[in-house]
Amino acid sequence: MYDKLWLIPFFPLVGSIINGLLGKKIKNEKVIGGISTVAIALSFVVSCKYFFQLLGDTDKTHESIVASWMSVGSLQVDWGFLLDPLSALMIMVVTGVGSLIHLYSIGYMHGEEGFYRFFSYLNLFCFSMLMLVLGNNALVMFVGWEGVGLCSYLLIGYYFEKKSAGDAAKKAFVVNRIGDFGFLLGLFLLFWTLGSKGVWTIQFTEIAANAHLLESGGVIVTIITLCFFLGACGKSAQIPLFTWLPDAMEGPTPVSALIHAATMVTAGVYMIGRMCGLFAMAPTTMMVVATVGAATALFAATIGLAQNDIKRVLAYSTVSQLGYMFLAMGVGAFSAGIFHLMTHAFFKACLFLGSGSVIHGMHHGYHHAHLHDDPQDMRNMGGLRKKMPITFITFLVSTIAISGIPLFSGFFSKDEILWWSFGSNRGHWSLWLLGAIAAGMTAFYMFRLVFMTFYGEQRTDARAKDHIPESPLTITIPLMVLGVLAVIGGYVGVPAILGGANHIHHYFEPVFGEAIKLNNISAHGSHATEYALMAISVGIAVFGIFLAWTMYVKNPALPGQFVAKFTGLHRVIFNKWYVDEIYDALFVNPTKRLGTFLWRGIDVRVVDGIVNGVGKLVNVGSMLLRYTQTGYVHNYAFMMVVGMLFIVGFYILR
């Protein structure tokens, strides 16, 4: 029944190999783009089939083993896949949004030199991401986990001739590797601990079934989950490992949409969902997860307030929204976290693609006028709503969704998270407060973005301003589809107090239900509280929008005055709290200095010093001895006489 799951990652892999090997010869952009898009679309079709098959099935967990991978003693690893409601939803998001973004890329990447390379990487990314979500054991997941890291590296470094792109790519991979270090340690400790209780496994279903062998709330399970959480922090750009994501915007915009917003960066959230049984057993870890999530949500939002690059704003917004998801996971609202993951995939992909459409238009205008202004700087935009109506409408819809305005998708998922962070027995009112403030900031900076880009006077250079067209259909169709999803995507999870059935919560019951029940996680509170919290968070969001409107539409001089008054604060926020600089000073430079010291100090001076010193000693010794070998007979004769006298003297005087 489910034995063809391998087809889902298989199609994009084939697409990637074809384009990678032959793309250069094919040359025709339509063929190259077509192969890749068809490959991922086929995966989408297969995913749909299995998704609906699973919906109608009573048994919700299915595994399919393809082959053995490693078999060494007690360690048995298979190439195996796992389909349950969680992975089913993820493959739908990955292949669905992925297909749209592939289609979009055909138009967006038109004329790029490495067109085939781009599509090969993009397919390879989808392959890796699907391996990540479909893997039935931690190691196959890790293949996808590092695979998406690789593709992220390749795609961030797509414009490899730019130094900033190369730097960003390397930074992304290395920071992710720090997370992977945690992932591996967690895996080793888990394998060994379960093994010492007689169960040698890294398979998710067996881990879940045997989690009870670990001491609930104990040190071991806490360390294991904290290690895994470090991995999640790397991949999902949470404090302290978030710095790579904003830099990742060096990649082409479709990449930012697919990898650095909709799919890859949510892998950490997915992983916690996959191991919810372990996390739920470790309240300390859960608290850390929730705190880090809430802190990241707020911290990244503050930086988003002051950025001028359209993609950077979205990047910090992504970091912030990922923080929400972790907040959800941390307070035990697993299904809400994944729900937000899904709605976020819709509206954030739409926002990134929309920004790409804007950049595409701006670029077109500048290209026409032979200018080299920055097409991503919002200070050069303004008034684009008339030029790019479709882009504008879809962008606006998604902005409303992310701001948490009722009836749009983001409202339902965000509200669920905020409610749990307040009402859950693993939550705390302070977590709710952080989340609510961040929600207000989100509404502010997102509408600031909309107003700066689409409203007001057009600030583009006069020579270019009339040559900014709406984007072609390959770009606008994905925008429209995602825009619709950004509106309606939330209706699968309408909460009970609003008269909904919260389908998604029940959908995830087979995955998260047991962990929640076993560890007594629940959210309590009166309806009145729930309504009140909802009203407050909506109120905060509306206030944020109003503030943005006042500052950027009604009175555009205000931001300047504001900045003049709080120069110091603005500079700190604008420079991202100097986190990169702090990391450089604390970690990067000392490591380099240590490396140099070990090389020039220890290796060359101490070790080789000793080695060469011994050599020199022998040399000097023989040089001295050489003086005894003069070759003159009288010298030898003299020495013989001295020697004989010595011996004779010795015997006489003894």
Partner: protein, 518 residues
């Protein structure tokens, strides 16, 4: 035929060498072609070993040949005694596989005294194969020393600017270790003779079953361990490696990295550990510490290198540290990972040295600063380089990951848990030094005009890389082919290294080490 297969493999290159010596000295293509054909024949002839399924089930020595050689009564007796098991099998295969690639890499690189170079290469192959198949300690020692000579000349004659220093350093470092080992070998023999134990010459199979007092084991183990540690090389006796690699010609570096270094790690697995199990236990923590220091130290020093080849050389110190850690875990995952990583290192680092050779042949420089933007000029090369880079970093799906993962998993399940934690940081540093180098060489704009018109890989160069790429993915995706044939021998090794033990170190409260692993 099969009963003499190992001898055939080992001495075919020697016959080839004699043929080469009689060829005209100025006909380069003929000399190179003849050498290539010989190494290819050796490779083809070795294939039946790899396809023999007996290794899946048996830990016994296979293809055994035993001929009495030197016999001076009780005073000295040694035999021509060879054979392979699942451990030496893959090292023999690695040798026969790498040699044709190394020879083909000399096509444009070696142009002075071609005859000498080819003859030495073939002699080296005989010595290396001989060392891997010897079951008589004295025979092993002969081959072990024989390896030293051709490599010494390869570095000293065909090397770079600083070749004499590097060659002498290489020679003296190795000779110091070898001499101690020789003393130890002779001592073991006479100890056996004096104890009245029935032995066949220097047969290690007999020595395995001989019990020795702990104090004696300690001394003998240290002699062996030092000798092998120099060859591996382990921190702090690694400094010959950077010079030897930097100065050696490409083919020399490839052979040195891919095969010669494995002599050290193999030596531990075949001799030092099973011969002296108690001493091994005693020194385990210290050696593991050196291995972990090597991993991190090698990576940090590699990071700051300005010469690509030196960087790759120091990365070897780090990679071999992983191998040693896996071996010292002394459980099946660790040992299997260590063995597999020996092969992986041969493939990936061998490929990296070839890659350095490619750009050196084009630009006659190896300084990272002289490059930049090559990805634009040489796209095919960029792809190949990138795959090998990620294989060296240990990306899942490539060979490097399987080895490193098993090593760390094994070390974590043994008493070396904390060592494994620190060793795991190596995966971060590996990404740093490799990607930083890759970025500086391949990414960015072409700033140096000399780099603007470089040729992409030729057919010959692709032919060198393709077999290596094949194994990068094969071992990464389906390593069982290799693992299943080494498992029985490794299980046997674990038994050997514990059964002789008088003091039970493990059984108390470490469920991990041996008892629970299967």
């Amino acid at each position: 035929m099969t009963e003499h297969l190992l001898s055939l493999l080992t001495f075919l290159p020697l016959v080839g060498m004699i043929v080469v010596l009689f060829l005209p000295r100025d006909n380069g293509p003929l000399l190179k072609g003849c050498t290539l054909v010989v190494t290819l024949i050796v490779f083809l002839a070795s294939l039946p070993l790899a396809f023999n399924d007996v290794f899946k089930t048996s830990a016994e020595m296979q293809y055994v040949e035993f001929v009495k050689w030197i016999n001076i009564g009780d005073y000295f007796q040694m035999n021509y005694f060879v054979g392979i098991d699942g451990i030496s099998l893959w090292l023999v295969m690695l040798t026969t596989f790498i040699m044709p690639i190394a020879v083909l890499s000399t096509w444009n690189a070696v142009d002075k005294n071609i005859k000498g170079f080819m003859a030495l290469s073939l002699m080296l192959e005989t010595a290396m194969l001989g060392a891997f198949i010897s079951l008589d300690l004295f025979l092993f020692y002969i081959f072990w020393e024989l390896m030293l000579i051709p490599m010494y000349f390869m570095i000293g004659i065909w090397g770079g600017k600083n070749r004499i220093y590097a060659a002498v350093k290489f020679f003296i470092y190795t000779a110091v270790g070898s001499l101690l080992m020789l003393v130890a070998i002779i001592y073991i023999y006479y100890h056996a003779v004096q104890s009245g134990i029935n032995i066949d010459g220097f047969s290690i199979l007999d020595f395995y079953n001989m019990s020795m007092e702990p104090e004696l084991q300690t001394l003998l183990f240290l002699a062996f361990a030092l000798s092998f540690a120099i060859k591996v090389p382990m921190f702090p006796v690694h400094t010959w490696l950077a010079d030897a690699h930097t100065e050696a010609p490409t083919a020399g570096s490839v052979i040195l990295a891919a095969i010669l270094l494995k002599m050290g790690t193999y030596g531990y697995v075949r001799f030092a550990i099973p011969l002296f199990p108690e001493a091994t236990q005693q020194f385990l923590p210290y050696l593991a510490l050196l291995a972990v220091i090597g991993i991190i130290y090698g990576a940090l020093v590699a990071m700051m290198q300005e010469d690509v080849k030196k960087l790759v050389a120091y990365s070897s110190v780090s990679h071999l540290g992983f191998v040693m850690l896996g071996i010292f875990a002394l459980n099946i995952q660790g040992l299997a990972g260590g063995m597999l990583q020996m092969i992986n290192h041969g493939i990936s680092t061998g490929a990296l040295f070839l890659i350095v050779g490619f750009i050196y042949e084009r630009r006659h420089t190896r300084a990272i600063a002289d490059f930049g933007g090559l990805a634009k000029v040489m796209p095919v090369f960029a792809t190949v380089f990138m795959i090998i880079t990620f294989s060296s970093i240990g990306l899942p799906g490539t060979n490097g990951f399987v080895g490193e993962f098993l090593i760390l998993m094994g070390a974590f399940a043994s008493e070396l848990r904390w060592f494994a934690v620190f060793a795991t940081t190596g995966v971060i540093f590996a990404a740093v030094y490799m990607l930083w180098m890759f970025q500086r060489v391949m990414f960015g704009k072409v700033t140096n005009p000399a780099n603007e018109k470089l040729d992409d890989l030729s057919m010959r160069e692709m032919a060198l890389m393709l077999p290596l790429l094949l194994f990068v993915f094969w071992i990464g995706i389906y390593p069982n082919v290799f693992l299943e044939k080494m498992n029985p021998s490794l299980e046997n090794l674990i038994k050997q290294s514990t059964s002789k033990q008088h003091v039970a170190v493990v059984e108390v409260e470490q469920p991990s080490l041996l008892t629970l692993n299967k």
